[in-house]
């Protein structure tokens, strides 16, 4: 009977699906969960590393990869922590550490580091460990980083007869070269742009002597002459000199234009090196340090490994963190070529300097930029997220581009908005304060209740003969 057969098939399908679902039930307590983000190639690198660790070290609780795409990684971690289901090991950007520490989400790793003789904090490149501590306590160890550099199309420079960029370049040199490299067709359309600096916008402010936040990271101080001049320079690149497209254009379009030879210079990190070399051919693309402003400032994104304060397997998590920053672990991550290992022994070796995936690139430039580097994109402190700062800055830039305000007026508006955000964040009560406040209110309410009861017991509010209530009651009866 076809109908019975159909029913049987449906029942079998449901049964097998149910069985499959039951069999694949997952108990997170069986694993040490390691959370990270990344492109497919980066994830492939981490998977190889985890498989190797589980196969060679035989941990009691195997390490398991938890992965999220980059756009919502931080928000997702915050949600997981709020739901009391955080991963054990968190791959984090260094700039997020103050925020996570302020929310109590990271484990103080100082005792683990001090109590482990096999861990040497001196193996990292200088400057990388600096931002991993808050108030003298270490909350993370550096794992990899990337400095921003100026990628340029060597073919374009050769064709225009311009010397390639080097460490002596300033903003002026960049602008001069960009004007010569920009090509306009007969109809007045720009067919090739000279440069694109949008990724480094926060660094340019600091190169000009400006700051986004004060030293205590609890107040925005961006409305300064230095920052306004830097912002104006960025806007002028597109609006006045027309060597760059509108700063409001999507960054991703620029990336594609650079690969396609329709842009001569672009600022980007190490993560772009392999895709650029693969797309543009060996020898076409090379790198140089960021052009300097009034000060020489580079930009570095440092990625660290931290242990969640909510983890039930902190010792095992620490063992895996140690493996990650060991030479063996760093060498495995270095294979993908998307980041720079944090340990000196690998970063300064041929494994990175003559990386097989970027053989024609002068990889030393990435390391030379590190000593002068500032936190990229923003040092955000404990009250802000990168998203808040970035979206506010883009808004400020938009106001200038649309001629709604001058650079200084726009930055003043941004400063006020960010300081308001900080005030709001500072007012958010923590759980202890909340319960403390709740207790106070309960006590106050009890006091009021006791007072009212005492007042009534003394005969003022009761319905005893002669009292006002008694009179009102009697009137109502009548």
């Amino acid at each position: 009977m076809p109908r019975n057969l159909l029913l049987a098939v449906c029942a079998a399908a449901l049964l097998s699906a149910g069985l499959f679902l039951l069999l694949t039930a997952d108990d997170p307590s069986r694993y040490v969960v390691f959370s990270t983000w990344g492109t497919p190639s980066e994830i492939a690198g981490f998977r190889t590393l985890i498989d190797h660790y589980n196969a060679t070290r035989h941990p009691l609780h195997p390490v398991k990869l938890s992965h999220s795409e980059q756009y919502q990684y931080t928000e997702r971690l915050l949600v997981q922590s709020a739901a009391l289901a955080p991963p054990d090991i968190i791959h984090l950007d260094r700039k997020d550490i103050p925020l996570f520490v302020q929310k109590g989400l990271l484990e103080d790793m100082t005792p683990l580091m001090k109590g482990d003789s096999s861990f040497d904090p001196g193996v990292f490149l200088p400057g990388l460990s600096a931002g991993c501590s808050v108030a003298g306590r270490a909350y993370a160890v550096p794992h990899n980083f990337s400095t921003l550099v100026l990628y340029f199309n060597r073919d374009h420079f050769d064709a225009a007869g311009i010397p390639c960029p080097d460490s002596t370049w300033t903003w002026e040199s960049l602008l001069t070269a960009a004007r010569r490299l920009t090509i306009v067709d007969r109809a007045g359309n720009i067919v090739r742009y000279g440069c694109h600096m949008q990724i480094a916008f926060s660094t340019l402010l600091q190169q000009n002597g400006g700051h986004v936040l004060n030293a205590a990271l609890d107040s925005c101080v961006i409305a300064s002459e230095e920052c306004a001049d830097a912002l104006q320079f960025e806007v002028d690149l597109s609006e006045k000199y027309r060597v760059s497209w509108s700063m409001l254009a999507q960054n991703l379009q620029w990336d594609d234009m650079f690969k396609g030879g329709r842009l001569s210079m672009i600022v980007n990190g190490r993560w772009a090196a392999v895709p650029y070399e693969q797309a543009m051919g060996k020898g076409t693309v090379d790198i140089a340090p960021l052009p300097r402003g009034r000060f020489r400032k580079g930009a570095a994104a440092v990625h660290v490994m931290a242990i969640s304060s909510g983890s039930a397997k902190k010792k095992e998590a620490w063992e895996f963190v140690k493996f990650l920053v060991s030479d063996e672990g760093e060498r495995m991550v270095n294979r993908e070529g998307a980041t720079i290992p944090a340990t000196r022994s690998i970063a300064c070796s041929d494994a990175f300097l003559r990386h097989v995936l970027t053989p024609a690139m002068d990889n030393r430039v990435f390391l030379e930029e590190l000593p002068s580097s500032v936190v990229w994109p923003f040092e955000q402190g404990p009250y802000l997220t990168t998203f808040t700062l970035q979206s506010r800055f883009e808004l400020a830039m938009r106001r200038v581009l649309l001629h709604e305000a001058t650079a200084m007026q726009s930055l003043r508006g941004m400063q006020e908005e960010i300081n308001r955000d900080i005030q709001v964040q500072r007012r958010v009560p923590d759980r202890r304060r909340f319960f403390g406040g709740l207790l106070s209110w309960c006590c106050a309410a009890l006091c009021v209740l006791a007072c009212v009861s005492a007042w009534r017991l003394l005969g003022h509010g009761s319905g005893r003969p002669g009292s006002s209530l008694h009179r009102r009651g009697a009137e109502r009866k009548l």
């Binding site: 699906a17 694949t24 997952d26 497919p40 064709a159 594609d256 030879g261 329709r262």
Partner: protein
Amino acid sequence: MKRSAPAAFLLYALLLVFSAWYVVPFCWALVTSVKHPGMVFDGRWLPYAREGSMPLDGRQREIRVVEERGDSLLVRIVETGELRGVLRKDVETVSPRWSNYAEAWSMVPFGRYFLNSMLIGLCVTLGQLVVCSLGGYAFARLEFPGRDTVFFLYLATLMIPGPVLTVPVYLLLREYHLLNTYQGVVLPGLFSAYGTFLLRQFFLTIPKDLEDAARMDGAGTLGVYLRIILPLSGPALAALATFVFIGSWNDFFWPSIVLTDPDRLTLPVGLAHFNDIYVFDYGRLMAGSMITIAPAILMYLVFQRFITRGVVMTGLKG
């Protein structure tokens, strides 16, 4: 009533504009999926190649375009490193880059993602058909106190925005150790007020006499449901199945929250891993997108008739 020619012309023009609104982005994605890296925003629809080989000095030589100069191009000869001006028409050729598909397929475990999406889609679809048809039958045919009130309350859940339920459901799944599991994605998808409403409306159109006749022949409630109601509800069930499967197949938000193990990701979530904030490969991403949406399009083409009928039947879109 027959429309006048200008009115019909205007109507069709308007419809064409609206359809272009949806079709053009799809065409862009399709063309981009076979474009070369760096050629996505070159202002042209067709995928041109600007590197390859061309006859120069009596020999076939590998070249790379350096600069555009009107009708001519400045190219670099790869072998010698020499720069030379050539005519644009000699270099540029329409050349789809089919390898984007192969590369996209090999960059992430598409096969695995495909199976995950299929498994989750089938479980959600089958489960919802069972749950919604039973619920719809109860609300349409069974008499019990407060039935209409319960149905109204059930229907009222349609008014609750999905994100509001995210945190409570997430916490619930955590309590039952269902985070990062297929069950965590499937279970919340099994219950749907929309599906129940759709089937109830359809069941109400089935003559009650058929049911009474079956009862006189000795059929119980379940017998009537299995032997009379379900066999007559093929179109409604097919419409619901299509809606649910396509919805589940394309769902991004919930699987991206619940699933963290790279081996358990669904196609839309896996596809998001192509994204990097500062480096982007449009060609491969669009190739991956095309692979992802192909089954949903196929499903739509096969069951188009049922979907239309489902929309007409309930006045709701899936």
